[in-house]
């Protein structure tokens, strides 16, 4: 059963990527033709089958099939909005630091209480993209992140990762 799930997940990902890349190959949509030409669909399905057969054990190495449900993907898309807002803030902050040169860096530890690999990864990357913080080290077993902070303040857990953790817990845990 797990093999089947692995295979299915890889297959869906591969097919999705392929069809995304070859979208609009069927000609103009407004003129009424379908989005993909027939050859693309046939090739896409066969290639996705082959790739899924070869690399099925790589994608789901942690045997964690939560991400198969479409609802979680939807939440993930919505997550892009707060991330983007944070990025805008980050960049204005960065502009301020670049122009004035006022820095007070430190490396601090936070413990964000996330369990899965995916959650930790998304959190780490989000932190890297947001105000004045940069993930330096991730502990392999425990969920501890060491973060380079360009302007140190108190209570790092809440300031750095508070909002993200709440969002990420909704789709990755």
């Amino acid at each position: 059963m797990e093999d089947m799930k692995e295979f299915l997940a890889t297959f869906i990902l591969a097919l999705f990527v392929y069809l995304f890349l070859t979208l609009a190959s069927g000609g103009s949509i407004i003129e009424g033709s379908i989005l993909w030409s027939l050859e693309e669909i046939v090739f896409g399905i066969s290639i996705a089958l082959i790739v899924a057969a070869v690399t099925s054990h790589i994608l789901c190495r942690s045997k964690n099939f939560r991400m198969l449900s479409p609802l979680r993907w939807l939440i993930m898309l919505v997550y892009a909005i707060p991330l983007f807002i944070e990025m805008v803030k980050a960049n204005f902050d960065m502009a301020y630091r670049v122009i004035t040169g006022r820095i007070e860096p430190a490396i601090v530890k936070i413990t964000p209480d996330l369990k899965t690999d995916l959650g930790i990864t998304i959190l780490a990357n989000s932190i890297t993209l947001t105000p004045g913080t940069l993930t330096v080290e991730v502990d392999d077993e425990k969920s501890e992140l060491y973060i380079h902070w360009i302007k140190m303040r108190d209570d790092p857990d809440e300031i750095i990762s508070g909002r993200f953790v709440r969002w990420i817990r909704r789709f990755a845990e």
Partner: protein, 156 residues
């Protein structure tokens, strides 16, 4: 190379492998329609191997199968070339024949017309197989070779 990288990198590598392979295959089979082709796609797929090597430090025991894949790709390539021997070597005998890859293509952009080109897409696929296997093998051998420098004593 038996040292894994951090958890973040490993997870991202796992996620990226399948899209990279699919992208490589996309380059290979659209080689006769858009920029790309057997070699470029093969190199991209081989870089997914590089990603696995770098993230996990090892690559399993695929040396023999990769070597076989390489030989198979090249043998089929040269056989396709020699199948045109009724006319000449490398003659594109499938073109416009209506059979596999025998469709004719009008002028202009036609991204979806995979069914054209005669022997060219077949050769692209064969070269893609060969290049994938060859570059993966090179990377793997060099990673292993750079690892075991002081294991065995060399005879001078």
């Amino acid at each position: 190379m038996n040292w894994k990288m951090s958890r973040v990198v490993r997870t991202i590598a796992d996620i990226m492998v399948v899209p990279i392979i699919i992208f490589g295959i996309y380059l290979i089979i659209h080689g006769h329609l858009s920029p790309g082709g057997g070699f470029q796609g093969g190199a991209v797929i081989a870089s997914s191997t590089a990603l696995l090597i770098i993230a996990y430090g090892s690559f399993g025991k695929h040396k023999d199968s990769l070597s076989s894949l390489e030989s198979t790709g090249l043998t089929l390539f040269i056989l396709i070339a020699f199948l045109g021997l009724g006319y000449t070597v490398f003659y594109n005998f499938l073109a416009s024949g209506g059979a596999v890859f025998g469709g004719t293509v009008p002028y202009g952009i036609n991204p979806g017309r995979l069914d054209s080109g005669g022997t060219v897409p077949l050769m692209n696929i064969m070269v893609g197989l060969e290049v994938t296997a060859a570059l993966s093998l090179i990377l793997w051998m060099m990673a292993k070779g750079s690892d075991s420098m002081d294991v065995e004593e060399a005879s001078v």
